[in-house]
Each structure stands twice: as structure tokens, then as C-alpha cells.
Symmetry: D2
Subunit: 469 residues, 4 copies
């Protein structure tokens, strides 16, 4: 189902283009295709060669750009961002890309992910007399670069990145170069594509399809790519670690049409459903998926189990930001919001309800109740990923993990709490099997939130290196 | 796929509630669940016992009601409407319900459908000195009632309806009664439900599920139902004809979770897909459906054919009214709008592309092209309904039928025009088999647009009866 | 001061143009110059020769037209309207011009004023089977015309007007003619101007200056003017009565730059101030006027009395519809809204405060208090018109006259109630002297609200004439 | 007349309050009363004791605050700002107050005026590794303070101010103190008032009247005032120079009800008009003023000359941001915008047209033309201030002075260019006589733009003092 209902919020999608006459418009369409990655703010900075110019705002991509004049946002390079605000950070100032213009140079920055040691770096910087005006990790990075050198280039970027630790894809743009960087473990996705002579970079490959571009390659862990009029230069700012792509990208974050680390998301989800059917079969009449993100897994489960897939739950497409929420008493009388049961399909049936994950369990309980009220005789809940038991440090909103149901209850207890006739989760090996084709360096996944096995430790922040010198 | 892209526009959904303390809010949620039936305007009239009060506007239900104060829209009865404007009628004045308040009585009207003889009735009325201020059929009906009698009651309503011919569901509300009427052939849907002690009436049963109401029965062809504090009274204003439910309600108009004439829409669509697989199999690798309305048929096709169902086409959920359309040159460079192919699923595959219907053929061609560009080796188009070859007179927008591709080209020619490797339509008997369980009076369907067999003739308008007397 | 604060609301201004290629735009500017006559709604109907097309809405002229496309509002003739809504009538439906389009003809209507017998005419029409959809007098008139004849022309208009009684300026437009009509006593203003070859008609002559047009003549009492491609034809639909121009147009309604019945408004106000100074001198140091409408009278008072005119009260120009009203406790702490005293001018001074009229007295009291708090040692209130003691039947909002202070209290009592050190009103002869240059037929004024001497009696409605024949 | 039409733009008004439970609302009303000082942006920062919180935006005060929730903007201290953007700076980032929050302290800054050496200071700061994100002088000041000391207090503020040179009123707020500072020559206005126990500070005294506060004293040249829970502490950060209050504050910038440096603005303008009548009398029939800012001078001219003051030009109050500007051809046909002549008053008359100043001369020419078209037989232009011949360095927008008509033409030539029958300016001694009561230290005025006599030299910037140490 939809991330926002779960309380899982991934932070952001980024997009960049170099050498296309309609750079700002392409960025708009690229951001639009990644709208699911962040709905609280959007922005772009376009590069006309002589100056960088920003257009950004709070809200959906369409809201932000409906007043934009693309006639004025001229330039052949641009970077853009969609943002998912964590609590307290939902202000205009924090909308990316951040744009810094001094009398001698300009730079724009945008990122997807999290710098684990941002707070301690910020303390050091302020202690040394710097003034920071946002709560953005990218402002910290800009100050590190400024301190490293008086001009922006590969050296100062690499120096600054080496002072940070975390999981991130980063785009930076100066007057003459577009930079893309990925964290040493490649926990967050970032890919490079081509559109004719132009280069494009995006968090998700669906952005390439949206604009007619062709996928070329992923940015490598620890790689810094510089794209400018001389072509593409690659350097390594850190020792390349084991690839640890966030498994949640496959479970529910990415769009089904995207390829993440060269694996198609819909196909991996369908395979998760198939593995789940093998590991945890159910004696039932039909299989239903919770729209939208669990449909692929439900179809896989149906195929593997031989049960018919039916549309047992429907999602109202018109529930947007201006939807008037029903009052408590109307909800209790049965007024629905986003999801509704298809009574004609589920009444009298033993239903396998496939969902992608469980966080707090409250949504699962509501859907089970809904199906039973609509007449389902049994509801067997099957979750196409392992239980989430640990907080994420790498860019998934932590604040919502306080009540992780799987960290506090046994499988049986959870099943009872949500009212399911039976409950099954996909195993961690099953998940890996569904995603990873060959266990090479390139295909590892991060399952820290399920296993507690964190690829980047939290205490391991590097200190401000220039202080030593 | 989505109706608006096809050029098929059904006109409207209606909703009414009697005897519930939150009548206006329930109407809002009911209309919201029928948003797919009309996106150009919405409105409601609420009845406080002493007066009728309207709130309406152009745009989506959410747009219209975001400024509404439900504190002020008090009353225990209400009727509402969502509207699909035909060209030239997209004005505030035409948004329903129409509300007529004289010094002695008040009346609100809303309808779904079309009065075939509205124009000639209008001419007569104006010739006799009446002033009509909208282009709405309901204003014509109000004048007929006013002429029939000086007060609104069953007699004058029946008299007025008898002067009209057409296909319609109508809701009317006076100070003390809610009326529901259905055309003599029952071409349009209209159902009655219960919510505790309250009665609800709606074009589609999904509105009942939305508010937690329970389906009770359909309004019968030629029936006039009066609901007031004395309960429900039923009368017949016309001889009941053969039930001829619009088959397009099943093919793409209604929501999959609705039951139309007691048949679930998703189930009938899935069955259409199965019949289609039997009638018109394809030698292929995967089955994909065009979102949203063709998914059910595609799943049915996959089940019956044994081919895997895959998510080969994805629909961007965020393309709303403020989406900035790509310019022609960007579209030609490959910038997508609402639909995008899932390259990872279709590349190198022989694809069965299931769609619900073909009107002009331009959209089908675009999707076939899109799939081939994404690498599909073959695209076999299967349409889960018979070719549309005749205009509809009963409320489906006529203006778009000028270029009905199936009225002008052979099957082979159409296949060539849209670039398909093969093309198959569901047969008319196959369609009927998928929808109609027993061929009783209650279950006939109208297939006029496919067969030219019109249940209500166009020249058969009754004349103004009171003129003769 | 400003009318809205007083509780005096005049209803509306009208504007028409014939034979100018930019008719809609000129109407926009004409309406804009008459914005002070109505701030609740605005609209225009433009005539392209083949059809009439409306653009209207609630709010200020700028609000209504900021989304208008004048490229589409093409045509060489137009009529427009600004509206001041009375309580309960503030709906889109009541915004004028009303536009009636039948299959054979079109007609648009707009008026300024009031039909006294509209309610009884409405009852008759509804009794005869007509359906009226607004509370507008112009809909009644349209029905009368429709009943009188099946086509709109001078005869049917004259017939319809003869069935009404009241005070009004009316503009009507059909496909081929613009009509202007004035009530038999000429109580409301309506003038004709020229702009090159084009004709323009407006409630107030400031609209002519706004668009560069030249005043030609006033429409005469009881006159019906028809302007079309054959030129201007004048006819008389009623016996011409004694001209009785509303004196309130001079006192505060009209803009100071307008000429009403050939008398400049600023000049007449200044003269009222001079007469007032003669009739009711004050022993004081300075003269201040309450902005905006009393400034002219205050300057006149200063000139005649020899006292200096000072800016003792200032009006905040930026208090618009989105101004956040101070809460009661902040108001009590002294937070001001629209008017503020100029402490530096009034402190320690004996002030003559000139205002144009007193309705309820609450505003006067507030201003006197404000001046005293700002340090004025004495405040002598001088009102540049006679006490208002009777309701108006001719288009000034009645609802606010319930508490006419001058109908309930003596001069001394009023002075005490508002806290003035002395109080004086202009006499009725003084008012007439200031406005009327020669007491001919053409220059009489209506002072019914001051004297109770009503030029058109309320019981004297004519009955529906066509019923007799 | 209105500043914006002239091309003279003063930059900004500031307002602060300490120790009032409704600090944010009072700031809203205070800013509202100073709306004439800046119409491009507005903002406030409120202090809840634990944190500073900002609300700001582009546009008018009402636009910015119509969505504000004063329930959430809690706190007993606040500072606010209205902004007049110069070209290229009209962005959200530049809207004041600027708010800087570090992990250890918070500070908000707002100013009215100009730091002459901001650019060179900025260069130094960037050279030393600072990142500046706006083009605001206040960001420069914040960095200077940060560099001077790691905490904000009187010492670091004084140190920072001593590195700047210019003309300014500044408000700063930390968690526990409100600071107000004025430039060493007191070129810009800044006053302190009381509202019960609360302190208020504002650029213009009209803000005190708006909220019911009482003027206490002006901030002195070179004074730094600290207001906190211990009361008010005053210190001197610079040697106090000769008071040189900007004479333009009297000529047209300030509201007539304000007292600037204890002199009432309306009274000084009226006196300018009287002096002008003495210096430059005219043989004429009537005196008219150009609304709004020249009305006081016109009344003074009338009083001194014995000619009657008449309302010969009227200003349309409803021309706001959404007004649709007439196209060139409509303007040429005579469609007016903001100002219109009162034909009835000026036709056939010899008119003295009093205006406050002439910058480019284009507006004057348009008004003279307008009056002559309206029938004035002669137009004698009298300007109530000396010719503007030099650019301002102290906060009045420079960019518009390129074409200062008085710097390039003789008096005779100007008169001819604007089409006046005669032309007269007030002399510089006449101006001073009208404003300055006693020529003490406290009452000098800056007339640099008229005389070229600049109180603060442009080359005299102090250098970064901490570099020397």
C-alpha cells in the first residue's frame, strides 16, 4: 500500500540533466515521475551558463511548477529534487536544491539519503564561526567544501565527502560542471542515462522512461562523477564497499517500472509473492493485494499458489490533499477514505490478503476488519517482506519506528492483534532470493531494518580532517 | 483505460439521502466515490425542512467542496450530482442539482442520462412563453411539471415524465419528499440502499460501500419512488419495458467494486477477458492490461490462457489538472504523459495487450507504439468488448463518435492502423455471456452502440399531452 | 466616509457600450470606475453579433475579471454591472447582467435601483406557471416581456415597464439592439456618452472620463432609448414626471468627479459644506473631514468659516478584504482599523468634524472618541445633509434603517449619544440650495429619506395589464 | 503622488515589540500601518522565549498573513519588516527579518536603509570562507557579529556596526533581548513607544497610533538600545554626528499622520505649500493637488494664496495588483488608470497643480496633459520641494535616478517638456524652513539628493577592524 499511510517516509528523489536545451522542463518531468518519493516540496536549479536560477516551493511538483515560467528558466543544465519532509523541517528554507551564490562562484546541491554525522559536523562548523541557515545536510556539505578550498572542484568535494558518513546520492552543479556522488556502500540508488547527446542522472530509472532517455549505468559506490563540456570523468572518493542497496526500494519505495540496481521492481515484487506462497501457503479461495504497492506480490502469490487473483480492495484515485477527512463518528458509521472493499468479490470467500510490509500494524488491522465486514469468511495475511524490527539510519524517517509492532510482539501475537486468521512473513533469505540474482559485489542488499545488521556503523563518523592539518 | 482519454464521456452520477443528520456530508462522500462518472462539476442541495440550500461549482468534488461549510449545510436530506460536461455546456449554470424556489414551494433536480426529445419540448415551452435559462434537461422537466400542475407531487411528476423519452435516472427533492425515477427500459443504473434508518439512492453501488450503507434493491424500469417521513411509496409512471442496462457500464464506466444490476463489475470484466481468451487466443509470452479499467479483463485473459499477467504499462497517479503538458517536440523526443511502459517486463517479449474498447483508435496506436519502443517483439491487441459502430442516444457523449474507427474500417485495417501484430474483439454473444446470468426481463443489456439495435427509438417522442386536452 | 461602514448600501452601477471593437474591455474599465457603487459582484455580457456571452462572478471587478480572457470576449457591444448584495442575496445566480438565451433569441438585462412591486408581480407570474430562478427584479421584467410578446422590442419592453413601479436605470441588450430605460421620475442616474463613433451608457459620468468618452446627455425620466446600427431612437414609455434625482447621490454615493444630472458632485458637496458653515457655525480652531466622502464638504466648511482645513483623520488605503480584523480585546487596547487620528494635528485643538451623514450614529461616536483620545479639546460635529428619518424604497438598502438614530432621538440627544460638544445638520433647504441651480422640471431632487415625501407611492403599483385584455 | 509611480522607492519599514502577550498580531497591525513603505514582501519573527519562529512571504502584508495562524505564532516579543524590492532582489530569500538559528543561539535581523560598504565587506567575508545566501545587508551584519564573537551581545553588535558605514535603522532580536540601532547621523527614522508595560519600536510613528501605543522618544544617532526583562539599556556605538534626517521622509515617504523627528508630516507639507505660494505665486483660479501625497501641500498653497482648493484630480482606490492594465491603443484612446481629472472642476479654469516632487518628469507631463484635455485653460505646476539632482546613497532606490530630469535640464526647459504654463520649485531654504523649527543638533535634515551635500561620504568605509588586531 501507499507509503504515507504506513508511516514509512523515504526522503527524496533527485534528478539532473546536462546539455539539453530544455533542461528545466525535462527536470520537471523527471521529478514528476518520482513524485512518489516525496510530496512535501520540489525544486530545481537551472544553469544558463552565466548564472544559476532556482524555482522551488512546498507541495507537489504540479503545485510548485504551475506558476513557473519555463520561458525564463532557460539553460542547458539543471538539477532538481522532490522532498519528503520529516517533522519540524517542513519549511520553504529546507526545500532543495540549495543554491549558494557568492561573488565569485555558484553551486547548487540536492541529495537523497542521510548524513549520519551531520549534527556533529554542524556543531564544529558553528563553533568555528560559520552561520548555517537551514537544517539541511547539504548546507553542512557546502560549508565543508568551502572550508576545504576556496573553489569547488573534485578535490574539495572528495575532501568534504570524506568527512561525512552515511547513505546518499548527491547531485551538485556549478557554472560549468554537474557532479554526481554515491555513498561508499551504494545504499541509495543513483543512475546515469542518455537522451541523445545529453546526460541525465536520477534516483530512479522510471525518470528515464518518462523523458524518453536510455539507462546507461548506475553510479558506483564511492564514485564521484563529473559531467561537463569535456565529457564524463569518474573518480573514486572512497574505498568501494560491498554494495548494500536498500531492500525497501524493492519492497515498496520504488515504482514498479523502475530497475533498481539493474533489477526490475515489479518482477522482484512478483517473485517475493511467489517465494511467499512457497514459504507460507494458505488454504483459501482468492488472493487480493493491497493497492498500489502490493499488487505485484499478490499476482505472484496467486500464480505460484494456483489461486485466482481478484480485485478485492479498491483505492479511490481522487483522494488528494483537499479531500475532507470524515469525522470520527462518520468513520465509525462506516464512511471509507482511501480504500474500499469489493463486496461482490470477497463476500463468503476465504481471502489471502497480500501486503508489502507491516510497520505499526494499525493499517493492517483496519484492512482485515474491512474485508471481514464486507463478508470475507477468513482473512489470511501474507506479508511479502520480513518483519521490520530495527530503525533505519540511512534516510528512512526514524520517528515512526517507535512503535514497530514486529519489534515488540511475536508472530502469533501480531496475527491476533490485526485480527488475521493466519499470518505469514517472507523470510530474509526468501527476500534476498527474490531480489539478488548473483551474490556478487554489485548485488548485495541492506536489510538492517529487518536484521539489525547495519552496513555503516553509527559511531564511525570521521572527524573534521582539516582541523588536523 | 481512462474514459477521458478515449473520448467516451458518460454524463453524471447522482446521489440522494433521506433522514440522516449529516445528509450533506454523506452526499459529499457519495459523490466522491462516483468522481469517475463526472469531473467537470459537482453540487448538492440540502434540505433543512424549511428550505433547500445549494452548494455547487465547476471542477472536481474536492475542489468544489473544499470551501464548503458543512456546519451551515444542515438538514437531514440531500441530493447531489457529479457532472461530465459536453462541449459548450461547461458553465456554472449547468451544474446540477438545479434548484427552483418559488414563493410557495421549492424543488431540486439532478439526473444521469439523456432526454431524447428535450429539444422539441424546449421549443414548445418557449413558444408558450416559458423562459429557460440553462441547457439542462432537468429545467425542461421542471417546466413540464409546473405546467402539469401548480404543485409538485407524484401526479405531476409522472405526467411530466410521460412527455419525455430517453434513458435516465432522476432524483428530485421537495421540502418534504425525495423522489427517484428510472426510465422505462432501465438503461441507466439507479439503486436504493439503507444506512441505519436512512435511505440512500445512488447511480452506483460503490457509493453505498463508501458510506457504509447496504444495498437494498435497484429502482425498477418505469418506477417512481417517493421517500418521505411516511416511508417509501412506489408507483409506476410507465409500462415497464425489457430491462436494457447500458453494457458500457460494465465495459468501462462503472467502478470495478460496484454491482450494476446485481452483477459485480470486476467479475464481469474478468469474465469478458476469459471469454476473449477463448474466442481470440494469442501466441504470446505475457499479458498486460491498459490501466485502470482494463486490468480486470487482462487478469481474466491471463487466467484463461495460462499466460502470466505482468505489469507492462504503468499509470502516473499524479497527473492531475495542473500537470503541464509536454510540448509537441518534447513528446516527440519521448516525454511521456499519463502512461509509461515497463521496459523491464516487455523487452523482448511477445505481449498480449488487453484494452476495454476502441473508439477512434489513436490511443491504441500510441500504446502499441510505446510497447514496441520499449522492446516488445510482438504486440497482440485484444479488446474485451465488441467494436463500437453506432452513436449512443442515451447519455454517452455523441460528439466523439464522428470518427468511430470500427464504423469505417475492417478488422484487418484497424489492426494495421494501430500497428498490432494481431487484433481481436470480444463478440457480442461473448459480452452478453460474461454479463447476463439469466436472460430474464431483469437482465437484458443495451448494446445499441455495437449492434445498432436501439431499445428506444429516436422518432418516438411523445408530444406535449396537455396541449391536446 | 465610506458607505459600507455606514450601513447605507446603494445597489449597483450599470454600463453599456455599442459599436466599439473592444466593447468588453471598455466595460471592464467602466465598471472599474464605478466599483464604489457595488463590491459584491460584477459581470458583463458581450455581443458578438451572433451570440451573447457572459463573464461574471462574486467579488470586486478585479477579482472577477483577473481570469477573464478578453481575447475570447469578442464583440462590439456589451453591458455590465457592479453589484451591492443585500442580505441573503449574495449568490452567483443573482449577479447581473442576467442572460436569457432561447432557441430563437437572446437578451441580457442589468439594472440599478428597485422595482417596488416586484414581489406582487412575481406572485402573479408563478401563479400563471412561470418558473423564476433568482431573486432579481430583472428576471421578473424578462418574464413580463416574454408574456407581453414573443419577441423583444420597444413595444414589449414598454408594456413590461408599464406594469412596474419604482426607481431604476435599466440596460438591456439583444442580438441587434442596446436599450436604456429610466424610471418616470428619474430618481436614479443614467447618462449617455460618445467615444468616437461608439455610444456608451453609464450610471455615473466618471465612467466616461475613465475611458476617454464625452458626456452627451442624460436619459430622460420615462424615456426608452434604443441604440443599434440605425442609430439612436428615443421613445417615451411613461408620462414624464417631475425629475426627482436621489439626493444621496450627491451626499455620498457618487464619486466626486462625476456630474449627476449635470451638477458636479465635488462642487455640490463643497457647497453643502459652505451652507452648513453659514447655518451652523462653530467656535473652533480647525476643520477636519471624515475620509473619503466628506472631504469636499469639510473644505467648503473651512473656506466659508475662515478656519484652516487640516488632515485630522487618515484612512488606511490597504485595508482590503483580506485584512485580519483585530479581536475585541485588541480593539479595546486601541488597535485601529480603517481610520486613524492625526495626533499632531488635533491634540489640544477645538475640532470641527465634518461628516456627510449619520445613520445609526455608532460610527460618528467612534470617530468623536478617537479624536478626543488623540487630544482634541472639543469636537463639534457638523453633518453636511439633513437627518435621515425615513426608509428609502428606491434602491438604498432598507434593512439598515431599523435603527435610524435621527428617527428616534432629538438633536440634543444625538449630540450627547455621540459625545459631541455640539452638533449641527444641514437643513433641507440648504441641501437643495447646494445642489439645485434652477428649480425647473429637470433639477428636482428626492429627499424622501429626510422628509418622508415619497415621489412614487408604494401602494400605487399597476396591475398586470395583459390579464385585462 | 504615489511613490511607486515616481520611480522613487524607499526601502522598508521595521517594527518591534517587547513584552506583550499578542506580539505577533501587534506586529501585523504595525506593519500594516507602514505598508506604504514597502509592498513587495513582509515578515515577522516571534519569540516564544524558547525559540524564534518566522512567518514571511512576498507581496502585501495582507497577502502574506492571510494564511498565518496567530494561534501558533505565540510569544511576547517580535520584530517585523515590510520590504520594497529593488530590481533582481525580489525573491523569498531576501524577505526580512532574516532568521539565523544555530545549535546554541538564535537571532533575527531587519533593517531600513542601506549599508554603503556592504559589497566590500561581503567580498572579505567570502574570501575568508563564509557562505552568504542572500543579497541582504543584514546577512553581512550577522557574519560580522559572528566573527567578532561567538555570542550575540552589545559588544559584538557595536563591533559589527562599527565596521559598516551607511544610513540605517536596525532591529535585532535574540532569545532574550530586542536591540534597536540607528546610524551615526540619524538619517533614517526610528522611534520608541509604550503600550502599557510593553515597548514598541517602529520606523514611523503612525504604527504607534495604529496599535494605540504612545510615542516615547526617538532612537538617537549612533545609539544602540537593548530592551529585555531588565528594562531598557542605552549605549553609544559611534560618535554622535549632526542629525541629518532624510528630507524625503517629509516630502513624500512618510504617512501624513506620522511625526518624523517630532515634526508632523502633514503640517510640514502644508507649510511647504505655504512657503511655495510665497516664493512662487501663480495667477490662477483654483489649486489642485496630485493625490495622495501632495494634497497637504496643495491645501497649504491654497490657504496662503487665497485661491480655492478644489478636487481637480481623483485617484481610483481600487487599482490594485490584479488591475488589468489597458493596452497601448486603449490608453491612447483615453482609457485612464489610477488618476482621473475632475472635468467639472477644471474645465475653463487656470489651475495651479501642486505636486511633491519631480523625478523623471514623465508623470508630471501626463498629469498636465490630462488636465488640459479636461479643459484647463492654463496649468501652473508648483513643486513643493527643490529639484532632485543627485543620487541617494542611503536607501532610496538608485536605479531610477539615471534620468533625473532636474540634473539635465534648466527650469525653463523642464517646464516646456512637461507642458506647463509656468513652473516653480520650492527653494532649499524654503524646505528647511518648513521642516526645521530650531536648527539644533537634533533637527538637521539631509538634502543630499537636492544639493549634493552628502553627510556620509562613500569612500569613507571603515575596514574590517578585526583584521588589524
Amino acid at each position: 500500500m501507499h507509503a504515507e499511510q504506513k508511516g514509512i517516509n523515504e526522503e527524496c528523489g533527485i534528478f539532473g540533466v546536462w546539455d539539453h536545451p530544455r533542461a528545466a522542463e525535462l527536470t520537471y518531468y523527471g521529478l514528476h515521475s518520482m513524485q512518489h518519493r516525496g510530496q512535501d516540496g520540489a525544486g530545481l536549479v537551472v544553469n544558463s551558463g552565466r548564472r544559476l536560477r532556482a524555482h522551488k516551493g512546498l507541495g507537489l511538483v504540479n503545485d510548485v511548477f504551475q506558476d513557473a515560467s519555463f520561458q525564463e528558466l532557460t539553460g542547458s543544465a539543471a538539477i532538481g529534487h522532490v522532498r519528503n519532509a520529516t517533522e519540524g523541517s517542513h519549511t520553504y528554507e529546507n526545500v532543495q536544491p540549495l543554491l549558494f551564490q557568492s561573488q565569485t562562484e555558484s553551486m547548487a546541491l540536492a541529495h537523497n539519503g542521510n548524513l549520519i554525522n551531520a549534527d556533529s559536523l554542524r556543531t564544529e562548523l558553528e563553533h568555528e564561526g560559520s552561520i548555517l541557515q537551514t537544517s539541511s545536510d547539504m548546507e553542512v556539505l557546502a560549508h565543508l567544501m568551502k572550508k576545504s578550498s576556496m573553489e569547488t572542484n573534485e578535490t574539495s568535494i572528495a575532501d568534504a565527502l570524506n568527512q561525512t558518513t552515511g547513505a546518499y546520492g548527491i547531485l551538485m552543479m556549478t557554472d560549468d560542471t554537474l557532479y554526481a556522488a554515491l555513498d561508499p556502500n551504494g545504499i541509495r540508488p543513483l543512475s546515469i542515462g542518455r537522451l541523445g547527446d545529453a546526460y541525465v542522472v536520477a534516483s530512479e530509472s522510471c525518470a528515464f522512461d518518462q523523458i524518453g532517455a536510455v539507462f546507461e549505468r548506475d553510479v558506483l559506490p564511492g564514485e564521484l562523477v563529473a559531467i561537463n563540456d569535456d565529457g564524463v570523468q569518474s573518480s573514486r572518493f572512497a574505498i568501494r564497499g560491498q554494495r548494500k542497496m536498500c531492500s525497501m526500494e524493492y519492497v515498496y519505495l520504488s515504482r514498479p517500472d523502475s530497475d533498481v540496481n539493474t533489477v526490475n521492481v515489479h518482477a522482484s515484487r512478483k517473485q517475493m509473492g511467489k517465494e511467499l506462497a512457497k514459504e507460507s501457503p494458505a488454504n483459501a479461495d482468492i488472493v487480493v493485494g493491497v493497492p498500489d504497492s502490493s499488487i505485484s506480490a499478490a499476482i505472484g502469490f496467486a500464480e505460484a499458489s494456483g489461486l485466482p487473483y481478484e480485485m478485492g480492495i479498491i483505492k479511490n484515485r481522487y483522494v488528494g490533499r483537499t479531500f475532507i477527512q470524515p469525522t470520527q463518528d462518520l468513520r465509525e458509521q462506516g464512511v471509507k477514505m482511501k480504500l474500499a472493499p469489493v463486496r461482490g468479490m470477497v463476500a463468503g470467500k476465504r481471502v489471502v490478503m497480500v501486503d508489502d510490509s507491516i510497520v505499526r500494524g494499525t493499517t493492517s488491522k483496519r484492512i482485515v476488519d474491512m474485508l471481514k465486514h464486507a463478508g470475507a469468511s477468513e482473512v489470511h495475511v501474507r506479508i511479502a517482506s520480513p518483519p521490520i524490527q530495527h530503525p533505519c539510519w540511512y534516510g528512512i524517517d526514524m520517528s515512526t519506528y517507535r512503535e514497530l509492532i514486529a519489534a515488540n510482539y511475536t508472530l502469533e501475537a501480531i496475527g491476533e492483534l490485526i485480527g488475521a486468521n493466519s499470518l505469514g512473513f517472507l523470510s530474509e533469505p526468501g527476500l534476498e532470493k527474490a531480489i539478488v540474482k548473483d551474490k556478487s559485489l554489485h548485488q548485495g542488499i541492506c536489510t538492517a531494518c529487518m536484521t539489525g545488521d547495519y552496513p555503516v556503523a553509527k559511531g564511525a563518523e570521521r572527524v573534521l580532517t582539516h582541523k588536523r592539518s
